[in-house]
Symmetry: C2
Subunit: 551 residues, 2 copies
């Protein structure tokens, strides 16, 4: 599909742009989404043992990061968002998407960047604007809803994702890792400030212990020959869950029980975390009109972030290797995401959206061999996913169940040090698969010991400069998240796209860029397929798919 | 060389056994040792940068385990042995061997099994015999000296080592690992008993931290492409030293400085650790005559242990891969070891002997490429060791320097938690290269996922039973070390040899034994050449050298 600018240049005028197959022809994509998927809806409800296992796996990988963010949000949003809000949102949005989405493989949750965003918006409301946080956030989400709808109506999926490359997605991923590490440190700092030295020292043991046990177990797949391969798979898939359960249990033992450990703050009944709220509906209609308009700015930022996130996670969850055979629903899912975002805003809970790397991991856990008939009648085996809604629905129901007081109490046993360890684990998991890391290692290594470069690239100098630029940009954006301008950070990431388009061709030669700038799907190649050798994501070896708009 | 029994069976009678080339012909080996080496002595004194680097490396790998044992000996020998005694002995014996040994590659130090032995002898003296420990130990060492000399005179090297196989050496190595882990736990238990909860929790951080940093750095060689390869080599060779320095520094920082950390007990002047002693000479002549005779039993046990250790470490330090070209001096080195053992006994310090795995690591650090002329005049390149005495001498002088009060003070900064971490590290390093470990993993894995076996071996059942037998025997010996019968444990290990010879052929088929029972040199194959793949030490892939006496 041509981009709007390309179409204008090619001629045909503005009118053609908005009609028929025009890039901006209203409802074009949405109509095709609504034509294709509903007919197949009934086929999305088959069930088997693998689907159940996938639901259990996704339940843990979605719930655990969620409560980690909750412990942080509780402090940094003045108790407006807490554990119950995060769990409620993840469960509710998950059920809506399981039932009504176009593409049921993309699972939803409360993400790190959104937490940062809402914490910074809270700080602005509280310290600068002196207004209530939740009504302002509700309006931001309501504005975001119609912005989502506009993006869907004008086929944004077609003409945006072609410009997004690994340059931006790698930076986004690195930023996430840094934010995770920073949150772990903040969590330990709070323990240091609020508890005894012994308790603080135990927090360090709990944090590093949770991290290291999870990291060690996550490599279980490579332990052969040790244990049956299903045991190894189980250990590596439930690495974080096993580690967290162990370190929740440990401080109950012996003397450790006497320590003044900080734990995840939870509600004791089904009501919001904040003692000032008695019900979930936010009285958003009471906000001053000028602030209602001002909320369009955070609304736009949330839209930017959510659109970027849900698109990239859906792309990664449906890459060709998975042999997804039913049509997708990019435009429809953006409409639905606008709806759930507004709903969460009004309920005073943080909106959920497409989760990375959990969405592709969900597809991965549904892979199986299937026999299909070719056109000529011959039977062949292909690996494909169970494209259905049960795993999505069941895991979401499981998470929603945790808003009930008894299960909420279980979550409340979690020491915050364990959550700090989980932050480290999440940061490490996304950092180790980020090509920036290995290219950073290359900077620290003499060129003579590096793998040979493909012809056309003169030396490692250009690649090193490219890597350093990414690191500097990431450091810059992270610095911004620490200032009052923090809420603007998703916009900066998106602005990287046009800046790259204008400047990069002048600074680097075409051959180098062809190896470095790749469609966003390459970012998660390593996560998705752990069998890939370490250096497949090296510039010299990456398989190139033609992407003419990238350079 | 035929064994005494083989020679008798072959005929010739007792007389032939003791004359000419007879197995027990007195001084036969000793004479050949004294003929060969002294002529080449002057060639042992060349020097270059690699030799210096080797000395520095060996200095750390010898000193660090030594002081770890010292902290343990201090408690468990009632302050009779402590840091200064261990350092003094290591330095002194090292200098003697550097100057006078037949084979200068075998470095000496105070070993784990000897520590266990002396701690248990102390317990017997203190609790059961009610006599002074040091005079009794002095006599044990003096008796051990003439026993060493008898072994040398009757050419024991020839007719003992042919019977020792990996069955015993693997058990010996596993026992070492278990003893190390047990000592780490004891060290932490002492911290728990004697310090505050905060200090105990910090001890755990220091212990696990030292262990993990050392283990991580020790894998630096496989980090490519990251850093220059010399940087990687440096990090992996000095892994323990870097880790220990870091964790000595850490508790000096901030609040941690206020903790009541236990540190390595050291002397403040050049005098023995025990406040009851003013000089190093033990007044051994004052011991009751009956106890002088009784000391022959521990003397025999020490001899057994030392002979076994020095033989195996010399074999490992001079394997064919190193292309050692000067003659060895097995018999002469046993004479010298008897001498240093008696000397240490009289000085009231623990005697040093051949160190594993440090001795082969010493050879490894001296490897370089050299051009040699073939018989036909053509020049070819071989990899060989710098067979010289400087690296041995310099590292020993460096260690001896630490008996001086200022350097002793530096050692005294070491928290005992760091030493506990070093114990874990040493245990891990010898456990991971022990074939028992990987065969134990095989027991936990279904046979269908294990590598195929060579023809002649029906299934994994026999191998599993062999592995379990080794584990049970090791557990049994370890249990003995916890009882009053502990000092007998080296004898049990040696007794395994005849037991194996009588029983094993009945329990296992010949083909299996041929793969499992190997000359002792195979035990350290993995340590010495880290480039060997993980499974080279598997029974199915091991290169077999013919060893007719083994089965």
């Amino acid at each position: 599909m041509a981009t709007p600018t390309a179409q204008i240049i090619r001629g045909g005028g503005l009118r053609a742009l908005f009609t028929g197959n025009g890039a901006l022809a209203p409802f074009r994509l949405l109509k095709s989404d609504l034509k294709g998927r509903p007919k197949l809806y009934h086929t999305d409800w088959h069930f088997n043992q693998l689907i159940l296992a996938s639901a259990v796996f996704v339940f843990f990988t979605n719930l655990l990061p969620g409560i980690t963010f909750a412990s942080d949000l509780y402090i940094l949003t003045g108790k407006n968002y807490g554990t119950i809000e995060v769990v409620f949102s993840t469960g509710l949005c998950g059920i809506v998407f399981a039932l009504f989405s176009g593409q049921p493989l993309t699972i939803l949750g409360v993400t790190g960047p959104f937490c940062i965003l809402s914490e910074r918006i809270y700080a602005l409301c509280h310290e600068n604007f002196h207004i209530d946080f939740l009504p302002f956030m509700a309006w931001s989400c309501i504005h975001s809803a119609w912005m989502h709808w506009l993006l869907a109506i004008f086929n944004a999926h077609d003409w945006t994702m072609e410009y997004v490359t690994t340059f931006s997605t790698e930076i986004f991923s690195l930023l996430n890792s840094i934010i995770y590490f920073h949150k772990a440190i903040q969590e330990l700092e709070r323990s240091h400030a609020n508890t005894s030295l012994a308790s603080f020292l135990y927090s360090i043991i709990g944090c590093i212990g949770t991290f290291l046990v999870a990291v060690t177990l996550s490599t279980a797949n490579s332990w052969a020959p040790l244990f049956h391969k299903y045991v190894r798979m189980g250990l590596s898939e439930y690495a974080a869950a096993i580690s967290i359960i162990f370190f929740i249990g440990m401080p109950q033992i012996g003397e450790l029980d006497s320590l003044d450990q900080q734990r995840l703050p939870v509600s004791t009944s089904f009501r919001p975390t904040s003692p000032e709220r008695s019900h979930f509906i936010v009285e958003f209609w009471k906000l001053d009109v000028s602030w209602i308009f001002a909320a369009m700015i955070p609304g736009m930022i949330i839209t930017t972030l959510f659109f970027f996130d849900v698109e990239v996670s859906t792309i990664c969850a449906t890459i060709s290797r998975y042999n997804v055979r039913k049509p997708g629903g990019y435009a429809w899912d953006v409409v639905l995401l606008g709806l759930t975002t507004a709903m969460c805003g009004i309920l005073g809970i943080p909106p959920a959206n497409g989760l990375l790397p959990q969405a592709p991991l969900h597809s991965e856990s549904l892979l199986h061999d299937e026999e299909v008939k070719d056109e000529d009648g011959s039977v062949k085996k292909i690996t494909t996913v169970h494209e259905q809604r049960w795993s999505h629905l069941l895991h979401a129901i499981g998470i929603l169940a945790f808003v009930s007081p008894p299960l909420m109490h279980v979550l409340g046993l979690t020491p915050t040090s364990v959550l700090a360890g989980l932050f480290l684990y999440m940061g490490e998991q996304s950092l180790t698969v980020n090509p920036i890391l290995i290219r950073f290692f290359h900077i620290l290594t003499p060129s003579s010991e590096l793998p040979p470069l493909p012809s056309g690239i003169k030396g490692y100098r250009g690649i090193h400069m490219y890597t350093l630029l990414q690191i500097v940009v990431t450091a810059g954006i992270f610095a911004v998240t620490l200032t009052p301008a923090a809420p603007a950070f998703p916009v900066i990431i998106v602005l990287l796209v046009p800046i790259r388009l204008r400047i990069m061709n002048k600074w680097w030669n075409r051959e180098t860029l062809k190896r470095m700038l790749l469609p966003p799907v390459f970012l998660f190649l390593k996560i998705i397929n752990s069998a890939l050798p370490y250096d497949t994501i090296l510039p010299s070896k990456i398989p190139l798919s033609p992407a003419p708009n990238l350079i």
